[in-house]
C-alpha cells in the first residue's frame, strides 16, 4: 500500500514538473530577431506585418519580404542575421514563424477594424513589443475577454455577443 502511494506521489510530481516545463519554454522562433533594431532602423510595422490595415490577420514576414533588405551581406554582426541569409534567403526556404498571440477560434478579431477605425496602437494589445531585443516566447499581455469587453464598453462599441463571436 505504501509503495503504491509513493509511486503515486512520484508520478504526480513528475506530471506537475512536465507541465511546468512545457508552460515555461513558450514559443521558439526560427530566427532570434530583434524588434527594436528594426524599429530603430526606421522600419514601420506594416513593412513586415503587411496586412493589419486591410485584413483580419496582420501577417508574418515571408522570406521574400525579409530579402528586400537582407539580400547579400549581413548589415550587422548579429550571427542570427547571417543565419537568416544563408539558411533561408539564399535557399529560398520559407520561414516557419510561430504564432505567439492567440485568440480562440470562435472569436473574430479583425486587425483592420481596430487599427483603421478605432485607431488603436499596436502596443495597446501587444504590449511594449517595439523595445524587445529578442523575439517573444510568451505574450506580453494576456488576450482575455474582459480586456476586450472593458474597452468596447468604455468606447461605446457594441458588446453584443455576436459582434465578436461569429
Amino acid at each position: 500500500m505504501k509503495k503504491c502511494r509513493n509511486l503515486l506521489i512520484i508520478l504526480s510530481s513528475a506530471f506537475v514538473f512536465a507541465l511546468f516545463v512545457s508552460c515555461g519554454s513558450g514559443v521558439e522562433q526560427p530566427i532570434q530577431f530583434p524588434h527594436k533594431t528594426h524599429i530603430d532602423a526606421g522600419v514601420e510595422c506594416n513593412i513586415c506585418h503587411q496586412f493589419y490595415e486591410t485584413q483580419k490577420n496582420s501577417g508574418r514576414p515571408t522570406t521574400e519580404v525579409c530579402s528586400n533588405c537582407h539580400f547579400d551581406e549581413p548589415m550587422t554582426s548579429n550571427p542570427e542575421e547571417k543565419r537568416l541569409i544563408e539558411e533561408y534567403i539564399k535557399k529560398n526556404k520559407e520561414l516557419p514563424w510561430k504564432r505567439v498571440y492567440h485568440v480562440p477560434e470562435h472569436v473574430y478579431y479583425p486587425h483592420f477594424r481596430h487599427v483603421m477605425n478605432a485607431k488603436i496602437d499596436c502596443e495597446f494589445c501587444h504590449g511594449d513589443i517595439k523595445s524587445q531585443t529578442m523575439p517573444l516566447t510568451k505574450p506580453l499581455k494576456k488576450t482575455k475577454m474582459y480586456f476586450c469587453y472593458n474597452c468596447h464598453k468604455e468606447r461605446g462599441i457594441s458588446v453584443d455577443c455576436i459582434t465578436c463571436h461569429v
Binding site: 485584413q55 483580419k56 490577420n57 480562440p104 477560434e105 470562435h106 472569436v107 473574430y108 479583425p110 477594424r113 477605425n117 478605432a118 488603436i120 495597446f124 494576456k142 474582459y146 480586456f147 472593458n150 474597452c151 468604455e154 468606447r155 461605446g156 462599441i157 457594441s158 453584443d160 455577443c161 455576436i162 459582434t163 463571436h165 461569429v166
Partner: protein, 245 residues
C-alpha cells in the same frame, strides 16, 4: 480586471446606432426552388460538406433548408418550395431551454445569436425549435482537397459537438457598420444583406429593418399575402412569407 485600469484611456467613438429588428420577407410566388440560397449560405458560413452516407443518416447540415410541399393528386400535382432559415423569433423558444446561455436574443439587432464556444451540445434547443432550423455538428468539419483554403475568414469554423444556426450573416452587419462609420452615416437599405438574399436569382428574398417604417420589409410586409409560419405558437418570427392563397 485591475490590469486594464492602468491603461491609458481611449476616446469613446460616439457612434450611436438605432435599435434594429432585422427581418426577412420570402416571396414564395417568386421562389423557383433553385437552392442558390442554400449553396450561398454554405459557402458564406463555412458549413462543411457531408457525404452521401452521412446525409442518409440525417447528418446533413444547412442553415437554410428547402421544405417541399405537394398539393393535389397525380397527374395534377403542384409542388412548392419553402426556404426556411432561422426565423429569428421575437419570442424564441430555443433560448429558454439553453442551460449554458449559449444562445441569446440580441436586443440591439433582434437576431437570435449562437455563441459556438459556449455551446455544450445538449441539443435541447434543436428539440425546442418548432421550425427545425437548428442543426447539430456531428463530425469534425472537413472540406475536400483545397476547399479548406477558400473558407470564409470572417466566420469561425465550428468544432464537432455544437449546435449551429443561421445568424442572419451577422458578420456582414459588422462590415456594414464599418463602412457606415467610415463615411459617418447611418445604415442604408442594402448596406447589410445576408448571403442568401444576395444570391437569390429571382429576387424572392427581401431584407431590412422592421423597426424602420420606410424600409422595404416594412412596406412589403403589409401585403395581404403575408403570413408567418406557425403564427399560433406565439414565437413571433421575423421572417415573413408571401404566398397567394
Amino acid at each position: 480586471m485591475s490590469g486594464y485600469k492602468e491603461e491609458k484611456k481611449l476616446k469613446p467613438l460616439n457612434k450611436i446606432w438605432p435599435v434594429w429588428r432585422w427581418g426577412m420577407i420570402i416571396d414564395l410566388n417568386k421562389c423557383t426552388g433553385c437552392q442558390a440560397c442554400v449553396i450561398a449560405c454554405k459557402a458564406e458560413n463555412n458549413i462543411p460538406f457531408k457525404t452521401k452516407k452521412e446525409s442518409l443518416q440525417a447528418r446533413e447540415m444547412s442553415w437554410i433548408h428547402m421544405t417541399l410541399t405537394y398539393e393535389g393528386k397525380y397527374p395534377n400535382v403542384k409542388m412548392s418550395f419553402i426556404p426556411v432559415p432561422c426565423l429569428q423569433c421575437e419570442n424564441p423558444p430555443c433560448i429558454k431551454v439553453c442551460p449554458v446561455g449559449a444562445t441569446y436574443f440580441s436586443e440591439e439587432t433582434g437576431i437570435v445569436g449562437q455563441i459556438f464556444g459556449r455551446c455544450i451540445g445538449c441539443r435541447y434547443c434543436t428539440v425546442a425549435c418548432p421550425y427545425t432550423v437548428r442543426v447539430f455538428n456531428w463530425f469534425t468539419p472537413e472540406w475536400p482537397g483545397d476547399m479548406k483554403k477558400y473558407t470564409n475568414p470572417d466566420v469561425s469554423k465550428r468544432p464537432r459537438g455544437v449546435v449551429e444556426k443561421c445568424t442572419f450573416c451577422s458578420h456582414r452587419l459588422n462590415a456594414a457598420k464599418d463602412r457606415a462609420r467610415q463615411e459617418n452615416r447611418g445604415l442604408k437599405q442594402g448596406d447589410y444583406v445576408p448571403a442568401c438574399v444576395e444570391s437569390c436569382p429571382a429576387n424572392a428574398i427581401y431584407f431590412g429593418d422592421l423597426n424602420d417604417p420606410n424600409s422595404i420589409v416594412s412596406k412589403i410586409g403589409k401585403d395581404p399575402r403575408a403570413f408567418k409560419i406557425m403564427e399560433d405558437l406565439g414565437t413571433e418570427p421575423k421572417v415573413i412569407y408571401l404566398h397567394k392563397v
